[in-house]
Symmetry: C2
Subunit: 252 residues, 2 copies
């Protein structure tokens, strides 16, 4: 099958995707620099260095990878849908694994340092985001990879899945911003107002995360960047059998 | 002109709008209770009581009113567009006035208490939100109320205006969550982890603000809740003359 003709907005699309990746990777690097240079590096021993894995895993997993898992539907909008769907699920799985490591790191650190859990707004938002992210992943798996739902139910669920995906990305970014503020006030409250470099670096990280969210939201919601309709593809089942074996669907 | 026939999803629409208003008003009330009961009430004398006006004005203006200003396009989707447009602009103006009062309150308090300005992530996000909100309001006024732009330019700008409006609402909510975290850590850091009532109340306020944002985003982005196309209306100018005098447009 030949590729469809390029559509309008392709030039801006390339630049916007490029910008989103630069901003996303810069966020991950800044988190690494903050935790690695200013907060003493990384370890897995219940110390503050174990805590430092928490921000890195959340920014890399729950923000950057979650964002890119959504973006593959736009970047590869002219590729076969089942491949893109598999890629979407795999990147989300990586994001989920990293997020769980990040969550274990902070709970482990709290346990060792005898710090109470789940009292702050950051922890409430972060936990809600992770739980809903798991629910969304399992629902996506059941509806779009395994033959659980009818095609009518799948079609009805799709816009909800897309909406919830974007909400979860925004919630993840919001939770990161709360985490940045919490960490700064716990660590450098007396000097934060003097514009010390750690504070400025962490604030800049927050602004980059917002830019990443805005760029992703724009790319995902613009009509002209959507996957072009493909009647041949629509007729194919999204059943697991088709996806794994590449065979014919047993039902439309 | 007769009203168009009710469309599908009307029942859920009413419930969702109702829920958004309950959640939005509950957020405003909780902010009032937090500042009024736990933080000593309100004043305009450079004291901490003047600061207390800041959260109340921002939640009421930049979140609740900004959200409702957007929502009028869905609630009154069968009413004449020019009336809805005026209402949209007027509620936004109220939101802008309240936001400016809220900003003056915090800068006034900082000046009196000799606290530096603009060093925190909350202040960076909040200031960016207010500046962009002003830009968006002026652009909306120029493009859609005054005859500055051609109808081609207006049509091209409309989706950007809609996207930026939703981004600004989310940024306002994010800035509020950062403000909640900052205020709690400045005021009750030693007892926050013991789940004191002030901390739980403020966290609940944060969750309600997120719920408000999610409900508004859903209501605004769902295709079935959009304003039905009206060719008669489309042909009418959106020029200021038409809006104020109700006369015929001078150009299409």
């Amino acid at each position: 099958m030949e590729d469809p003709a390029p559509r309008s907005g392709s030039s801006s699309f390339v630049w916007l995707v490029g910008a989103s990746q630069v901003v996303g990777l810069a966020s991950v690097v800044l988190t690494g620099v903050w935790m690695g240079h200013y907060r003493g590096g990384f370890a897995w021993d219940g110390s503050a260095q174990e805590f430092n894995l928490h921000p890195l895993c959340m920014v890399l997993g729950l923000v950057f990878l979650q964002g890119d898992a959504i973006l593959v539907y736009r970047i590869f909008r002219n590729e076969p849908k089942r491949n893109v769907k598999m890629l979407h699920g795999i990147i989300h799985l990586l994001a989920l694994i990293l997020s769980i490591i990040g969550f274990v790191a902070v709970f482990d650190f709290h346990r060792a340092a005898k710090i109470p859990n789940m009292y702050s707004l950051h922890s409430w938002c972060g936990m809600a985001t992770l739980i809903l992210f798991c629910v969304q992943w399992v629902m996506g798996l059941m509806f779009f990879l395994f033959p659980v739902a009818s095609s009518w139910l799948r079609a009805a669920y799709l816009p909800v899945h897309v909406f919830c995906g974007l909400v979860l990305l925004v919630m993840a970014i919001g939770s990161c911003l709360l985490g940045i503020t919490e960490k700064l006030l716990f660590s450098i409250m007396p000097t934060y107002s003097a514009f010390v470099s750690e504070g400025v670096l962490a604030n800049t990280l927050g602004i980059l995360l917002i830019c990443f969210g805005v760029l992703l939201s724009f790319l995902i919601t613009r009509e002209e960047y959507r996957r072009p309709p493909n009647p041949e593809e629509e007729a194919l089942s999204v059943h697991f059998k088709t996806l794994t074996e590449g065979g014919s669907p047993s039902s439309p």
